[in-house]
Subunit: 532 residues, 2 copies
Amino acid sequence: MVTGLRPWPWSLVALAFCAACLGSAKGGKLLAIPMDGSHWLSMREIVQEISLRGHETVVLAPELSMHIREGPFYTLKTFPVTFSKDQFHNMQENPYLLFETAPVLKRFFDMAGGMKDFADMQFGFCSDLVSNKELMKSLEQAHYDAVLTDPVVPCGAIMAQYLSVPAVYFFRGIPCDFTAEGTRCPDPSSYIPRMFTENTDHMTFLQRVKNILYTLPQSVACHVFFSSFARLASELLQRDMSIVDVLSHGSVWLMRSDFLLDYPRPIMPNTIFIGGMNCANTKQLSQEFEAYVNASGEHGVVVFSLGSMVSEIPMTKAMEIAEALGTIPQTVLWRYTGKPPSNLAKNTKLVKWLPQNDLLAHPKTRAFITHAGSHGTYEGLCNGVPMVLMPLFGDQMDNAKRMESRGAGVILNVLEMTSDDLSKALKTVINDKSYKENIMRLSALHKDRPISPLDLAVFWVEFVMRNKGAPHLRAAAHDLNWIQYHSLDVIAFLLAIVLTVVLIAVKCLKFCFQKCFGKKEKAKKATKSKSH
Amino acid sequence: MVTGLRPWPWSLVALAFCAACLGSAKGGKLLAIPMDGSHWLSMREIVQEISLRGHETVVLAPELSMHIREGPFYTLKTFPVTFSKDQFHNMQENPYLLFETAPVLKRFFDMAGGMKDFADMQFGFCSDLVSNKELMKSLEQAHYDAVLTDPVVPCGAIMAQYLSVPAVYFFRGIPCDFTAEGTRCPDPSSYIPRMFTENTDHMTFLQRVKNILYTLPQSVACHVFFSSFARLASELLQRDMSIVDVLSHGSVWLMRSDFLLDYPRPIMPNTIFIGGMNCANTKQLSQEFEAYVNASGEHGVVVFSLGSMVSEIPMTKAMEIAEALGTIPQTVLWRYTGKPPSNLAKNTKLVKWLPQNDLLAHPKTRAFITHAGSHGTYEGLCNGVPMVLMPLFGDQMDNAKRMESRGAGVILNVLEMTSDDLSKALKTVINDKSYKENIMRLSALHKDRPISPLDLAVFWVEFVMRNKGAPHLRAAAHDLNWIQYHSLDVIAFLLAIVLTVVLIAVKCLKFCFQKCFGKKEKAKKATKSKSH
């Protein structure tokens, strides 16, 4: 008899197809402590699903936020912060920095300064939260079943430990091998490219040298970024905590990655790969966009967005881009809120917002110009659209490199590219069939899985809620120190034994040798001296 | 709106619930090259499901076999072998060896001799297969989409490479870290117990020493077992092949394990855990067994089987066991084909065969006396039945240790135990509530998964069939040699640079020092000599 899924109690499959069972998963309490920006936009999908499954869901966020707003599916709890509103808004509105053509060193320090400001702000928010006695008390009294948080800002991870509640991490990656350290996952640098190196998994000797060398500056940067959080955790939890100790608390790590975008490497059993969960729900296009697409004729459309952080760019760059866009026969839908460039061609439509995933899912979409943020890259990948990649910061360069290395896109340096470069790149990904074939192959493999990434994410959040964590998936490596983990003590012990045995053997041999031949030698000498 | 699984193309879920889609998975051709014994009994489940999904399924086996027979769901192709029939049957009927109370060293060499005979027989079968030109030609011409095989005897893995067909491995474990080497998975000995050590994942210093020391003899044993296969592969494929090269061909590794039985450790993306798939299909008990169970009253039943290999034991041991079984109020159902012990108590029923999984699933079953084979252990675990574990050989000691370390069973040494020991052990697992609580907790966790292990196994076999392998899940580590993998060349290069820089710096300093102070020194000396 075939077949179907067997009735595993509590399984998501059972839940999904058996309305009557829904009650059995109801009644849990989830506290979500998200990271702002696009990170929240995809976590919101999980929060919504969890809420729809009958759990009480509370989202905890500072009162200053880019995207975290009230929603119909969860209760938003905001807390007051001491950070200045003006400064917060200034920090959001500085995309020009990314397009600055200053010397490399100045740009590096500007970027680092920006990162430092961001880290300070996040730390300030976290301090404001933990010193808000009333709020902390109410959180303690709420007895949540799990905390869902993005560990790239470890405030949620600290809160989970403080509340003695298991944590589910939802993230794209944490710099400095903290993902590997936090889960105790081996992470050989010989074929696992380090963040920001732009390496692939097949490296030349010099790329492997670069891969190892990138560890040190990243470690320094992370020390700057995370040390204040480690201090805060130590004070709050009243024991000495490193940031790895804080992160190790994670019961399940939901990683927004898969092995079509990232490269295959060792993983730990409590790391679950849910890359592409953001492109699961495709909706019908609105009339406005349907009209644009229909009017595009046989050539179809090109979708162009540099992500939620960047909606306008310096005019000279915008004009260069506009010129390039005018050279292709496709209709270009460009998300752009700035002053329209004067040379905008007829085929280019500026829009303040566009339904990116829905447009990419349309069969008439021929190419996607993107900054290679992880969400956008997955939306291009899921929907099989070749990409022109213009990475700006963070992991975008790595995402872009991964797509390029698989023959699914062309990378352009947004600062150095000319109008001609962009025009050529667009024509290449649209007209060279190999790009479409490669991205379609990747897309088919990405979708060929036994359970959708969003359902998998929801399953594991509920798993942690109902089982109070997932200790059976936690490696015993967490209980070993560095020397024990690498068996250095055992190796030293065995070496000591071998050395002792060798030494004793040598001594014995020497002794025997002396006993046997020493006498003869003496006898010889004696004979010789007599004969003299 | 909630909630269900999203429509991922080809997904098993879609297939399972959408009869119309079934056609899309039809038409593949699978070649199964199983390992005999209980290994085949669980692989058969997958073969059956694959066949029911509309694929052509051929099972290839030597004409001498314990359990591989014609079946309604697949075509059995047998091939003639040169191995003697009598010797084959003699090898199956030697369970007494396991109960021999000879000195340890004699038992070790007897066992090793048995293993060697088994290896020679398997190698003989494989040689007979590859030298059967007609059969080999027909296999080549059949153009299979995938080979499903148990790599513990690597004949199927060799055949897959010869036929240039992707391989799916279905296995419980391969000694000598071959699983880790074949997938290039890190395998620290500090917390991952080596086979046959009886260690858990939490080891004392001396246990860690033992864990490392076990590597060498295992490596020697594996060399003996596998070297002939490596030679055969090299000849057949006309290139130099080690056994790890042969195994590395595996596209997907379906491992009959999970993290309730085994301990959490690093895994590679192409290793899929399907432990417990053998206990998915529970059937109604036959009248005979239903009657036994119903007649057992409030005390319920105890199920006792030492697996498909051992159905009778020496009379003295059988009498000891019978005496112990008589001391408990439960009805004991004992699978035993030998002469009944004269002291058999009324509560003990001897049967030639029993529906083990179905009996264990019955709520009246109180305990399970088992040899701790992986199938039986999972059936006890799935159904939440505390166990008395009497491991006999192979991985059974390790399986038993895993259950004991989790408080779900008591281990007895079948050679040394007295009647009293067995009686006490049974009373402990039945009356001490902690055993039942622990096994029920493990059972609930084992079943709490998004998709059943059998469906997962079937999904991945079909995945490999339709995608011609799974190269996107294959780590780039396969393309690195040992030195590159461990970055020893990079470390040497960086050390060389550091040393060169230090040397040059020292030389420069020395030179400057001489220039600066050398003159003064000379001047001093000159002054001194003048003053003299």
